[in-house]
């Protein structure tokens, strides 16, 4: 049993007693710190890929861990905590995105210039690259929701198709067919935009 598993198991097995209260609180904090340090960067990137706003993505990660705390009793039954956490944060960011539809999109070029890496590029090249990425992201936003979600999650190298299917609650074959449709739609959108220029 690894250290993290031992801490998670200890979190669950603390008895309900007056003496165990302090120990339980300390164990909760230790387990939570371990979860945060292990999975917060991954969850942040997943949240940022949808929200494209650093502050909102950080808030979503924090809310995900708050939900973990609320459902800590069921944590022992979770087989793959990484996929479970990604699913939680995925639902949170989709919900936030749905609620914030009236807000202006944050896909502006200036934000991308600030966020994207720019080592070894001139200012003009950085601006052109940011403009190109902003255009591509605008096309991604035009995709239907199902195809867009699969396309976004597929960009994460650490997520397999089975894990994407688990996060979205669909079958693996659905993931593949949606990804195929998304790629075709994206090709059509980008070619149309290129020909209209």
């Amino acid at each position: 049993m690894s250290t993290s598993q031992a801490i998670y198991a200890g979190w669950m097995d603390i008895p309900n007693s007056a003496a165990g209260d302090a120990i339980r609180t300390q164990a909760e904090e230790d387990a939570l710190a371990l979860l945060v340090s292990e999975y917060a960067p991954t969850l942040y990137r997943v949240a940022f890929s949808v929200l494209r706003n650093p502050a909102d993505a950080e808030d979503a990660v924090q809310e995900a861990f708050l939900r973990v705390l609320r459902h800590r009793d069921t944590l022992g039954e979770v087989r793959d905590r990484r996929v479970w956490l990604i699913r939680i944060v995925w639902n949170i960011v989709l919900d936030r995105k749905r609620r914030a539809k009236t807000r202006p999109e944050t896909d502006d070029v200036a934000e991308l210039v600030r966020v994207l890496p720019s080592t070894g590029l001139s200012a003009e090249q950085v601006a052109a690259a940011a403009q190109h990425h902003a255009h591509v992201l605008a096309c991604v936003e035009q995709l239907p929701a199902k195809e867009r979600q699969v396309l976004l999650l597929s960009a994460f190298e650490e997520l397999s198709s089975v894990e994407i299917a688990t996060v979205l609650g669909i079958t693996e074959s659905s993931v593949r067919s949606r990804l195929f449709r998304a790629r075709n739609l994206m090709a059509g959108l980008l070619n149309h935009a290129r020909s209209s220029r």
Partner: protein
């Protein structure tokens, strides 16, 4: 059949060739965003934020200090809650009086002689013409038959066939006066 565990993007062209096809461009951009490093100090901020947030789920949980083995405490608390709720309900039921239905129906006052509608000077005209008199022959004949039946000599007269009973009395009478 074993599930495929590799990423579906693995068979895609390399990012350097992304401009050759349109989907590659999109995937390159999305990969770029997916590879973005998390901001520094993210873990500490998230951890501090989670610890500082109120844990709402604990509000309704049973306090650990009472212990799980003290079942009688829970029973007493539950009984007290039931007693208070039931007593409060009974108190409300007994103190609130229901409005009784009125037994006397008060009729509105009739419009007086001075007020209300008037006859506007119209006078009742008595019926001066006599209507047609109604004759009830059957009733009169029945009365005659009854009177004849009361006479002792006529009651034993033989019945005539083919003659209505109302006229039998007339036929049986002696013709001479």
């Amino acid at each position: 059949m074993t599930p495929q565990t590799h990423n579906p993007y693995e068979n895609l062209p390399a990012p350097g060739n992304a401009h050759s096809d349109a989907p590659g461009e999109a995937e390159e951009t999305l990969r770029l965003i997916a590879r973005l490093p998390a901001p520094s100090g993210l873990e500490d901020r998230v951890f501090a934020g989670v610890l500082a947030a109120p844990r709402r789920s604990r509000i309704l949980t049973w306090p650990h200090t009472l212990g799980a083995d003290r079942g009688w405490v829970r029973g007493a608390a539950a009984a007290a809650i039931v007693f208070v709720v039931a007593g409060g309900g009974w108190g409300i039921y007994t103190h609130v009086q229901q409005p009784q239905a009125a037994r006397i129906v008060v009729m509105p006052p009739r419009v007086g002689q001075q007020g209300g509608f008037s006859s506007a000077g119209a006078m009742r005209t008595p019926q001066t013409l006599r209507g047609p008199l109604t004759v009830h022959p059957i009733k009169a004949q029945t009365q005659q038959a009854t009177a004849a039946a009361r006479q002792p000599g006529r009651s034993t007269s033989p019945r005539l066939r083919g003659v209505p009973s109302s006229t039998q009395g007339k036929l049986a009478e002696p013709s001479g006066k």
